[in-house]
């Protein structure tokens, strides 16, 4: 610190990174366009910035509650809870990380599944909770997803999954890798029942989740400007030692390369998906 700064009274010192200009709770700032937004308005807008359209991360439960019809929602697999089978420990115990994530998000693990209706159409919807250890897929995520698939088959319903995940959960090691096979195998069964599966890829969808259930939709939909890919941009950069092209691994890039069917604004997902399901299942929507 320079001598000049040292003699300044402390209230005159500003530090952009630590000083909060926006009190938490009532106001929030869009980190893309820097607009100061009224929290309640942002919530009404599905966590999409009303000024620039930036899609902020949205919790699994809020996502499902705003997506499904208000009535007939029923949670699936809530009784499935994580265990630390490997007694995994890096700097921190996996058990403690789980506890911490549970306190932070109010969820037991990184996925919430509900059955319900979408404009009257029977659906099962799954959503990753990114706030829970980066939405990583371990045994609980795999089991809940598969139970969602099984419920869809039982109810003759369509399946929708909202992915946002860094990939497999390292703390469950090979168990989490095997969830890729487990969830993909369940989708194969669903297909045999000719029930539609719509995969919605939100920011970010990477690694083991991208390389399994998220890429296997009958229709793959991405939210705008979501990072979607197998390997992370940093790993790729280190491997190929080149600068990545602009927009690499973003939704628009994926659409151009044929990986996804469409990019849909979060606020239109209810309308667009119900329209698609109505066509695929030969049923009509209410309202």
């Amino acid at each position: 610190m320079s001598w000049f700064k040292q003699i300044l009274p402390s209230r005159n010192k500003t530090n952009g990174s630590t000083r909060r200009t926006v009190p938490e709770g009532i106001w929030t700032k869009c980190h893309v366009c820097q607009a100061v937004l009224y929290r309640a308005e942002l919530e009404r807008n599905n966590e999409v910035c009303p000024k620039c359209g930036h899609h902020m991360r949205i919790s699994a439960r809020v996502r499902l509650e705003s997506f499904l019809d208000e009535d007939n929602r029923e949670e699936i697999g809530a009784d499935v809870k994580p265990v630390d089978i490997l007694k995994f420990r890096d700097g921190k115990r996996y058990k403690d990380r789980l506890n911490q994530a549970q306190r932070k998000t109010g969820e037991d693990d990184a996925m919430v599944v509900m059955s319900g209706t979408l404009k009257g159409l029977p659906v099962v919807a799954c959503a990753f909770e990114f706030g829970f250890m980066g939405g990583s897929m371990g045994s609980v995520v795999g089991e809940r997803f598969v139970r969602g698939v099984e419920t869809a088959i039982e109810l003759n319903a369509s399946l929708i999954c909202f992915s946002t995940s860094g990939g497999a959960r390292m703390q469950e090691a090979l168990f989490s890798l095997m969830q890729m096979a487990k969830t993909s195998a369940a989708i194969a069964v669903l297909r045999n029942y000719k029930l539609p599966y719509i995969s919605v890829l939100a920011d970010p969808t990477m690694g083991g989740v991208s390389a399994s259930l998220a890429s296997l939709g009958d229709i793959n939909i991405a939210e705008p400007n979501a990072l979607i890919g197998f390997a992370g941009p940093r790993v790729i950069e280190q491997t190929v030692r080149e600068t990545l092209p602009a927009g690499f691994q973003r939704s628009e890039f994926l659409l151009e390369h044929g990986d996804i069917d469409m990019i849909v604004d979060r606020r239109q997902l209810r309308d667009r998906i119900s329209k698609l399901l109505s066509i695929l299942t030969h049923r009509s929507v209410t309202a």
Binding site: D90, G142, A168, A173, A181, G208
Partner: protein
């Protein structure tokens, strides 16, 4: 012979034996006895070092530059091998070898990752890291196998699927995901063997099987120990701890019931005797295949689906 760090005592003994052999040629003194004694000691030393290997040391053996690769096994285990190339869309990926052959006289399909032995081959085979076209070639051969009633035998040995710009552009995720889905209900028996490095999704993409075998000193994990360490420990130097925490060895994974069988390696590792290793693996493959062949195919598929349905540890 290349020796790893922890094998240095063995290397020194072996060097001494070599030296004595030359001396023996020059002089009249009979040193055969001494050589026999030293060889015995070397064997015992190897046995004792190899009986207490850490997961990190095992991962070094799994990645040993002289370890037998898929083609080394194909040469020794199968007859009538015909390599088949390409996925019919874009290109042939030399990081995955695929083809048809005979095992003990009976027709099979063979698919495996291939690492290069020298620099030229390593570059050509991209260090055993497939691109989407490699996985799509594997898929094509699996579906061909299904149509013609050939059991599928796969050999896993990869650091992982290639993390490159072109691989992402051509849908690396989709290629892997599709293989997982199709393999889960492929109507023919599948046996997968991890022969070296089982690296994450890039390994699993040819690893959804009725029967999963691992060679004694091979590894299988969701991420490399270095990758795990650099994320969780913030430094790749903690790879040893990561290797231990993740439980990447055949022994640990067998205890966790994630693999079906361990194939014992020759003393000092598979690279000490390709023939011996191939022989043991062949016997195991023939045995497992016989068992799968004794079941009607729909039952094999149902059993495979149930197996993957059950994987996972949670409470409720």
């Amino acid at each position: 012979m290349n020796f790893l760090d922890f094998e240095q005592p063995i290397a020194e003994l072996e060097a001494k034996i070599e030296e004595l052999k030359h001396v023996g040629n020059d002089k009249e003194i009979n040193i055969t006895e001494e050589i026999t004694r030293l060889k015995k000691r070397s064997r015992e030393l190897t046995k004792s070092i190899f009986s207490v290997l850490t997961p990190w040391q095992v991962s070094q053996i799994a990645r040993h530059p002289q370890r037998p690769y898929t083609l080394d096994y194909i040469d020794r285990i199968f007859t009538d091998f015909e390599e088949l190339h390409g996925e019919r869309y874009f290109a042939d990926d030399p990081a995955i070898i695929a083809g048809v052959a005979r095992l003990d006289g009976k027709p099979v399909a063979v698919i495996g990752h291939q690492k290069g032995r020298d620099t030229r081959d390593r570059i050509k085979q991209n260090y055993g890291m497939p691109k989407p076209e490699g996985y799509r070639k594997a898929l094509r051969i699996m579906q061909l196998a299904e149509r013609f009633n050939l059991p599928v035998l796969t050999f896993i040995d990869t650091p992982g699927a290639y993390p490159g710009i072109d691989a992402e552009e051509r849908g690396q995720s989709e290629a892997i995901a599709r293989n997982l889905m199709v393999m889960s209900e492929l109507k023919t028996p599948i046996i997968a063997t991890v022969i070296g490095e089982g690296g994450s999704g890039g390994a699993l993409a040819i690893g959804v099987a009725d029967c999963l075998l691992m060679l004694q000193y091979s590894t299988y994990s969701v991420i490399s120990p270095e990758g795990c360490a650099s994320i969780l420990w913030k430094s790749a130097d903690n790879a040893k701890e990561a290797a231990k925490a993740m439980g990447i060895t055949a022994q640990r994974l067998h205890e966790l019931k994630l693999i079906d069988r361990i194939i014992e390696e020759p003393l000092g590792g598979a690279h000490r005797s390709f023939d011996d290793m191939a022989n043991k693996l062949k016997l195991a493959l023939v045995e497992e295949l016989e068992q799968l062949r004794s079941m009607p195919t729909p039952e094999v598929v149902l059993q495979r689906q149930n197996k993957f349905r059950q994987i996972g540890e949670f409470k409720q």
